[in-house]
């Protein structure tokens, strides 16, 4: 399994205590929790490393070492006692962070990457980077992408709040890091039109076109010095100006999309503590091409990861 750490560092629930126990056994003197670990379900560390994280051969060796240790443990020494497990399940309750997953809604996976014409990164570690995320829509929101009475050739405006959510939380500069969302007032434009290109009793096929523009002026950089060559202006602008295009097919009886893709392509600009652009120097303040592509996600367990900005959706 794979997981993000920010909610686990200081948590007191069973899952957090488990992670803290694993890290303490692996590298107690290193502050970072990031790493690869092989553990028994009761929290006994079999093998673990912070350094092996980016080296497949080290990970393979670590797994082999861990499996050797696993074989030597009796079930009593590697599994949770029944009463402890039962208590943990009861403590977990209704599913923790993943309970908001929209089972009958629309789940998109998203990729972002710089496009040709973007400045070559000065730091070699920043070359060829891309990132991903998920975007969630509940059933009533997913249905809102489709006209109530679709007529061939007609255009319909998708609800602004849905496009605005995309602009604020998903059309962000996360190519080199987890990105920084935008406040509502930073959204200067957020429109998406769905044109009906085919209608049958079973399906509605749509073609999307639109545009978004987010722009915000402020202080976005907390570590203000980069080497001695350049300092980020204390107050600067950041933003993303896009055109949107895409297509989707909606299954009317099942009330769900069977295909969906949406591409945002446009100019990003600005440096933030999160976006890792500052190492390029002042060129990062100028518009440069970046793309964000969203498509229908699968339903494997690993594709139920909450959107990085889910907490800002306002869902309860």
């Amino acid at each position: 399994m794979a997981d993000q750490l920010d909610h686990l560092y200081n948590g007191t629930d069973f899952e957090s205590r488990f992670v803290q126990k694993i890290k303490k056994q692996s590298h107690p003197d290193n502050y970072s929790y990031q790493g690869i670990y092989l553990a028994a379900p009761n929290g006994v560390l079999l093998a673990g490393s912070h350094e092996a994280l980016h080296d497949a051969k080290k990970v393979e060796k670590l797994v082999q070492q861990g499996l050797e240790k696993w074989k030597k443990l009796s079930p009593t020494d590697r599994l949770l006692a029944k009463e402890v497990f039962a208590k943990a399940v009861a403590e977990r309750g209704d599913g923790g962070r993943l309970k908001l997953y929209p089972e009958d809604g629309l789940v998109l996976r998203l990729f972002c990457r710089d496009l040709p014409g973007a400045p070559e990164p000065k730091d070699a570690n920043h070359r060829n980077l891309w990132n991903m995320d998920y975007a969630w829509f509940r059933k009533e929101e997913a249905i809102a992408f489709v006209p109530v009475t679709p007529t061939l050739g007609k255009n319909y405006a998708v609800r602004r709040e849905l496009v605005e959510r995309l602009a604020r939380f998903h059309l962000i500069d996360a190519v080199r890091g987890s990105g920084l969302s935008y406040p509502k007032e930073a959204v200067a434009e957020a429109n998406l039109t769905a044109e009906v290109v085919e209608v049958t009793d079973a399906f509605v096929s749509l073609r999307f076109q639109g545009a978004t523009r987010t722009s915000q002026t402020g202080k976005f950089f907390t570590q203000n010095t980069v080497g001695s060559a350049w300092k980020v202006p204390e107050v600067q602008s950041r933003g993303y100006d896009t055109k949107l295009m895409g297509r989707a097919v909606y299954h009317r009886k099942d009330q769900k999309f069977i295909s969906f893709e949406l591409l945002a392509a446009g100019d990003r600009w600005g440096a933030t503590s999160e976006n890792g652009r500052v190492s390029d120097g002042e060129v990062c303040l100028r518009p440069a091409p970046m793309g964000v592509f969203l498509e229908l996600a699968g339903n494997r367990p690993g594709e139920r990861v909450p959107p990085v900005n889910l907490r800002h959706y306002g869902w309860k």
């Binding site: 923790g96 993943l98 891309w130 722009s215 602008s237 949107l244 591409l263 990861v305």
Partner: protein
Amino acid sequence: MDVIKLKSIAALLVGPVLLAFAEGPEANGPKTVNLTDATYTKLRDLVRPNATELAWQKISWRASVWDGIVEGQQSDKPILIWMLNGHPLACT
């Protein structure tokens, strides 16, 4: 010419340039990339990772530590845990 004057001139030149950046580019749509019907597929395929880049998805990862604990406990198997500050399966 004294140094102070040179610095003043430099400040006058640099000031408007930084101010222009601070306000962001003009709001007339993107300038550095042109998304049209003709460029859509090419741009989409530039952004979307290829099969090699997504090879790590061949492993049937679970999305949380908790899911791994439950499955490991019920099937008597060890748990491989991959932890990053951002979610390793999504936005890192």
